[in-house]
Each structure stands twice: as C-alpha cells, then as structure tokens.
C-alpha cells in the first residue's frame, strides 16, 4: 500500500529515538520507574487475587461469583472502551495536524485511516491492558487452570481492544460523512446519552425485588444474578470474550473456540466495514471538517461564562483571567467536555442504582463493606477524573506557554490558581457524591463523617498530585489529551493515585471491621486506631498532594520554552 512502508518506518524511527532518549536518562530514574511499574502490576495482581480468593470461598457459589466478575469486568471494559474511543477517534482522525500533513502526501486514504485507527486503539486501551492482564492472571491462578491458558491471554486481548475502537471509528466515520462538522458535538452528546440510557435500561429492567430471599447467600445470589443477567446477553460482544475465557478455564475448548472466533470474526467484519467506508468517505469527512461554518461570533464580554465569572470577581485579575480562559477553552473543545459528560453520566447511573441496595436486609459485614466499597468507588472515580482532566492542564498550555512565561506572573501563582480552582470543584463534587450516597445507603452518622473526611482529604491529595505531576512532566508538544495522559507522567499519576486511594481506605477499614463487624477490639482501642488512621491519612495527603505541587513549581521555574 502506498505510504504504508514510509509511515511504518517513521514510527520505528520515532520509537528508536524515544528509546535512545530513555537511555540518556539517569539509570537510577529509569530503574525507579520500572521498579515502580512492576510493583504496581504485582500489587494489582495481589489485589485481584485476593478479591477472587474471597469470592471463591463462598460455599457452592464461589465459582459462579468469579465468573460473574469476569462478565462484569469485560462488559464494563467494552462499554468504556467504546465510549472513550468515540472521542479518541474523533480527535485522532479529524482534529490532528498530522492528518493534514498525511493527506498532502501521495498516501491512500485507507492507509491514513488505519494508521490513525491503530494509534487510537493504543491510546484508548493501554491502561485497560495494564489492568486487564493481572485481572485475568489472578482469575486463572484461583481457577488453577493449566499453563497453556496463560499463553492464550494476549490472543484474547488483541481483538477485545480492537473491536470497541472499530465500532467507534465506524460511528464517527458515518457521522462525519453525512453530518455537518459543526453538529458533531451534538452527535457526541447523543451517542453518549444513548449508550448510557441503554445501560441503565438494560440494568433497570432486570432488577427484581430481593426481599423474598430466604438466606443471606440466596439473597446475594438472587440479587446479583438478576442484576447482571444482561451481561450474558448472547448478542453482546463483551459476553463472548468472557464466555471464551470461562470455557477455556474449565477446558471446554470447543465452546471457548466458538466464542473467541465469534468475537474475532465480528472484529474483522467491523474492520472490513471501516475499510469500506474509509475508502469512500474518510477524506470527504475530513475535508468537510476543514470547510465548515467558521464565522460564529463569541462576543467578548457576553455569555454565561462571563456572567458567572462575576461571582469570583474577588480573585486577583490575572488569576481570574486564567480561570476564564481555562473554562472557555474546555467548553469549546468537544474532545474535552464530552469525556466529562461520560464521567458524570456514569456517576449519575451509579447514584441512581444505589437506591436499589436494600440496606435494612443486610448484616453489619455487608453494611460496612458496602460503605467502604462506595467510598472506594468514589475515590477511584476521583482518581481517574483528576488523572484524565487535571494532569494534562499544564501540558495543554502547550506551545502557548510563552504567553504565560512572558507575562509578569510567577509560576507559583499559575500552579496555585490551577490547584485551588480545581480543588474547589473536585471538593464540591466529591463531598456531594459521598454524602448523597451515604444517605441513600443509610450509613451510620460516624461512618458518614469518616467517609466525608476521607473524600475531602483525597480530593486535596489527588488534585495536588495531578496538578503537580502535570507540571513536573508536561508535554507541551502534544494537544491530544489522550496522548498526554498515556505518557510516563500520566501513568505515574494513575499508579500513585490508585495506591493512595487504596491506602486511604485501608487505613480506616482495619479498625472499622475489627470493631463494628468482628467486635474483636474495645471502643477505646477502636478510637485510638481511628486517630492513628487520621494521622496516617493526613500525612499521606500532605506527601501526595503538596510535594508534587512544590516540585512542579520548581520544575516550571527552571523550564525553558
């Protein structure tokens, strides 16, 4: 294919140059990073292993619970990959300057399309791969599968990562070919809302009252299996890969092969349709995106943002100007706000469905577990939110950093502004979320206070971590946030944020379980342990939230543009 060899070579050269650059880095730094990543991977493996071991210990239903977890994991992964790929494909195919360059060369449209397609696959899925492999290995260890199962793991992931992106690319190709480019933002909103409404509907119609359950295990199983029935729908691709893995773990090779081949053939089929449409419509859609209506006016002091800015007019003028600039840029970039929309829609579904957990029917173990799981879910959402949206903030100043570098403002103020403004937003969101979910779950008052306290501290720590690391490891040459986040700094941010979130909850989980569930410690010991937990979490928050901001400030001060 024309141009394919040249593009492939350029990628190899870039990879070689990147490796050469890494070799120039201090050995200690590279070793530390590698060791940290290995530790994270092993930590994730241990965590998943413990989780599966816990499920497997349930008499009679352990294996079923493990399989349900596999269904849930791959279903969630499939939907999340497809949703994020819609945005990543839109940005990668139609807004990148590299595509302008490639279209100016004698290269076939389909070559450009698939080159950008596989970039999208990589950028939207590497993190899932990083988490997915230890997940499957942990499952396999508990299931005591034969050795060959481990060898097949990459073969499961290859089509699984490609299909959601292929579907997303198909949607984007079709819409960009037949719709006005300017309407794309409405299309993105419609797709996101439609998919989320579909998830909610599928979930909702399967809910049955569980109060008729006779025993605790019956109750859990009845409730769980009813809730998750839609994950096993035969037309849902996420289900095929799960079934293939489950079947191969018990040596049902024919069934495993059947489901895997169903998935692989569907992937190839969708890729074939992508190729067919890209050949005919990729260039025309791209050209339309360059020739759309460009005369829309944005009067400088009108609009809701300027009116809302009046509410924070007490801020120093340069700070206020930077806040307004950041908000305007965010809201005018569909690639940014559409992902925000996905996060909040998922959160909405999550909160809405919490109402279906019948708290009065469960014992202290489940009540405390649900409270901590809810807290964990909130912190993980916060962690991913801060990594995805706050880490790239400094990098997005990009090649415009000269504007701020030249202005008579210090980088201390710039970082401080980004930290405080985002902290206020995240704090408001996390506290509202944790308080609302605790009310829905009818959590005890003391646990609600603990949850709110942890959420507040975690907001501080996670915002500081992302702003700080984003300043230490900025990528001013890239305007694709998916690429910025997938770099070393973003990965490090994600790893530390996950560890930190788990540590925050772990510090309180031990005393609360010992006292409220097992009753193995007296009240005085419980209070002392809780006080120690507060000291540990505050100290961890200071280290995680303040140190990166200070280092980031120093890094920006010393940076050259």
């Amino acid at each position: 294919m024309d141009g394919l060899r040249a593009i492939a070579k350029s990628q190899v050269w870039m990879l070689r140059n990147n490796i050469a650059r890494i070799k120039e880095e201090p050995m200690l730094k590279v070793s530390f990073i590698l060791a940290f990543m290995c530790l994270f991977w092993i930590g994730a493996l241990i965590l998943f292993h413990r989780g599966f071991r816990f499920l497997n210990r349930f008499p009679f239903v352990g294996s079923i619970l493990m399989d349900e977890t596999i269904y849930l994991f791959f279903a969630a992964l499939f939907v999340m990959l497809a949703l994020s790929s819609v945005i990543v494909c839109y940005v990668t195919f139609y807004t990148s300057r590299e595509v302008d360059f490639l279209f100016s060369k004698p290269i076939q449209d389909t070559v450009i399309f698939f080159y950008r397609f596989f970039q999208s696959v990589f950028f939207s899925s590497w993190a899932f791969l990083f988490l997915g492999v230890p997940f499957i290995i942990a499952y396999a260890i508990i299931k005591q599968v034969p050795f060959w199962f481990y060898v097949t793991i990459p073969f499961y992931f290859i089509p699984f990562l490609i299909l959601p992106t292929a579907l997303a690319a198909l949607i984007i190709l079709i819409f960009m070919s037949f719709l006005d480019f300017q309407k794309m933002k409405y299309v993105i909103i419609a797709i996101v809302l439609a998919v989320l409404a579909g998830i909610y509907w599928a979930y909702k119609i399967n809910i049955r009252p569980a109060f008729s359950a006779r025993t605790e295990i019956d109750f859990v199983m009845n409730e769980l299996l009813q809730h998750l029935r839609f994950l096993r729908h035969p037309l849902f691709p996420g289900c095929w890969i799960s079934r293939s893995i489950i079947c191969s773990s018990v040596s049902r090779f024919r069934d495993a092969a059947f489901y895997f081949m169903s998935f692989a053939i569907t992937t190839l089929f969708v890729l074939q349709i992508d190729w067919f449409i890209a050949q005919r419509a990729f260039f025309s859609g791209w050209a339309a995106s360059r020739g759309g209506r460009k005369d829309r006016r944005y009067p400088v002091e009108k609009g809701i943002i300027n009116r809302m800015a009046q509410m924070i007019a007490f801020l120093p003028r340069s700070t206020l100007a930077m806040v307004i600039k950041d908000i305007k840029i965010f809201l005018r970039d569909p690639g940014q706000w559409s992902q925000f929309l996905i996060y909040f829609s998922i959160l909405g579904i999550y909160i809405f469905n919490l109402r279906n957990i019948p708290t009065e029917a469960v014992n202290p173990f489940w009540r405390v577990s649900i409270t901590f799981l809810n807290l964990m879910a909130t912190l993980l959402v916060l962690a991913s939110l801060t990594v995805r949206f706050l880490f790239p903030l400094m990098s997005l100043e990009g090649n415009k950093i000269w504007v701020l570098g030249l202005a008579p403002i210090t980088f201390r103020r710039l970082i401080f502004q980004k930290f405080v403004i985002n902290l206020l937003g995240i704090l408001l969101m996390s506290e509202s979320l944790i308080y609302a979910t605790n009310v829905i779950l009818e959590t005890s008052r003391s646990m609600t206070y603990v949850s709110c306290g942890i959420a507040g501290l975690a907001s501080f720590g996670l915002v500081g971590l992302s702003i700080g690391l984003g300043s230490i490891y900025p990528n001013f040459k890239e305007d694709n946030t998916a690429k910025i986040v997938s770099g070393f700094g973003g990965t490090l941010n994600l790893i530390i944020a996950l560890f930190y979130s788990i540590a925050m909850i772990g510090a309180f989980a031990a005393p609360v379980y010992s006292y409220e569930v097992q009753g193995s410690i007296p009240l005085r010991t419980f209070r002392s342990m809780k006080a120690i937990a507060w000291i540990i979490t505050v100290a961890a928050t200071v280290v995680v939230g303040v140190a990166p901001v200070l280092l980031g400030y120093r890094r920006l001060e010393q940076m050259e543009y």
Partner: protein, 240 residues
C-alpha cells in the same frame, strides 16, 4: 535598555550562543541577523526570559532577567516567529486576557484593543475563534498583544512572516514610531532589506558568536566591494 554580558547558552554539547556581549540603549532599533541556526532565536528567548543562560547575564531596564524576572518582564513585549495562540479563544478574548495578565486599566486596554484591531483591519474578525484565523491574522493579534501594555522593549522574531504588504508597512511604521518614542526594538530577521531600511544598528551572529556589529554603513565599510547589506552578510557568514 538591554545589557547582555558574556552570554553563553549551551544545549548539551552544542554551543548556541557563545560569549555574547551587547548593549542596546533606549529608543534604538536593533536588527539581529544571522543564518539559520546561528543563535538568533536562542538569544531572543533568553532576553525574553523564556530560556536561561548557561553563563553570563542579561539585564533589561536595569533588572536582571535571572533574579528580577517579573520586574523585567513588565517592560518587555515579545513577538515569536510562530504565532502560537489559544486557538479556542477569539482574537479579542486573547487581547483582553493579555490586558488582564499585565494588570492594565480595563477601560484603557479596551480602548487600545479596538484601536489596534482597527489599525490592522481585524475588528470584524475579533470575535471569531483564532483556530479559524490565517497565519497572518494570528501574527497581527500577537503584535497587537505585544503593543498593548506600552512596553519599553519590544523583542520581535521575524515580524513580517505571513503578513500582507499593507500590514508589513504598518508594522514597520509602528515599530519606527515606538522607537522614536524611546522604546528599544530588538528584531531578529532574515529580511536583510528590512534591516537595512529601518535599523539604527545591526548585529550579525554566526555559529553563536557576534561577528559584526555597527550601523549598516559601518558594517559595509568593513567588507570590500559591498554595496548592499546582503553582500556583506553573504561574505562574512561564508568566511566564518
């Protein structure tokens, strides 16, 4: 206005600027010439505070660019060779943003922005997103932003790239006028005729070293058979 003393800038083993000493008084229009990769943009970025010297020092208006950078930056305007701007802001929003960053009186800068946009025939485009601007239109907005806070030093890198002839003339006139009013202009350019036309003094840098400094006539006198600045430039940069 600018005092550069024994300035050296290294990138790894590459010496981009080598022991440069230069003084630019208030109101002087200084043209900084040199082949590609000679060290012009590096020098300009050090003066603007965007790069740090490896050795030596830069003072702007008496303030050290290393230890009193904020004070020095208040006096400077910088127009980069490539007009990178916030593409999702309108031209007018970008100028308002600049006005706020420099803490200029709001009424004053609003009036000045309209005047500058009018001068560059940009009033009709001021409320459109800059992602829809041409290179020249972005350059005009950046030049407007550079003039907004009434700087005492304008550092400008290839100012005419992308501008239409009318705007080129306008920029030349504005810079000359500012220079007459006491603003120092430090301009890097490859357009030798421009330097010959408007510069009070010219410096030629090659391989990081300042190899010639003086008025256009002084420089021409130093090289035999040179009628135009272009001849001088080609000869002395070839010799080096």
């Amino acid at each position: 206005m600018i005092e550069i003393k024994e300035l050296t800038k290294k990138f790894g083993n590459t010496v981009a600027v080598d022991n440069l000493t230069l003084s630019i008084p208030e109101g002087e229009f200084f043209a900084f010439l040199g082949p590609n990769g000679a060290g012009k943009t590096t020098t300009i970025k050090i003066i603007a505070g965007l790069l740090r010297p490896t050795q030596g020092s830069v003072f702007v208006g008496g303030y050290s660019m290393t230890s009193k950078a904020i004070e020095a930056k208040r006096l400077i305007s910088y127009v980069p060779d490539v007009p990178y701007v916030y593409e999702k802001l309108t031209g007018r929003e970008f100028l308002y943003f600049t006005g706020e960053l420099y803490n200029i009186d709001r009424q004053h800068y609003q009036k000045e922005i309209e005047r500058l946009l009018g001068l560059f025939s940009m009033q009709d485009y001021g409320d459109m997103l800059m992602e829809n601007y041409s290179h020249g239109m972005k350059q005009k907005v950046v030049i407007c932003s550079a003039l907004l806070h009434d700087p005492r030093l304008i550092v400008i890198d290839e100012p005419m790239v992308g501008l239409d002839p009318r705007s080129v003339r306008l920029v030349k006139d504005i810079l000359k006028e500012r220079s007459r009013q006491g603003t120092a202009i430090f301009m890097a350019t490859h357009t030798l005729s421009l330097a010959e036309e408007i510069a009070d003094r010219v410096g030629i840098i090659h391989n990081g070293r300042l190899i010639s400094l003086g008025t256009v006539d002084e420089i021409k006198m130093g090289v035999e058979d040179s009628v135009r600045l272009e001849d001088v430039f080609l000869k002395i940069t070839a010799e080096e």
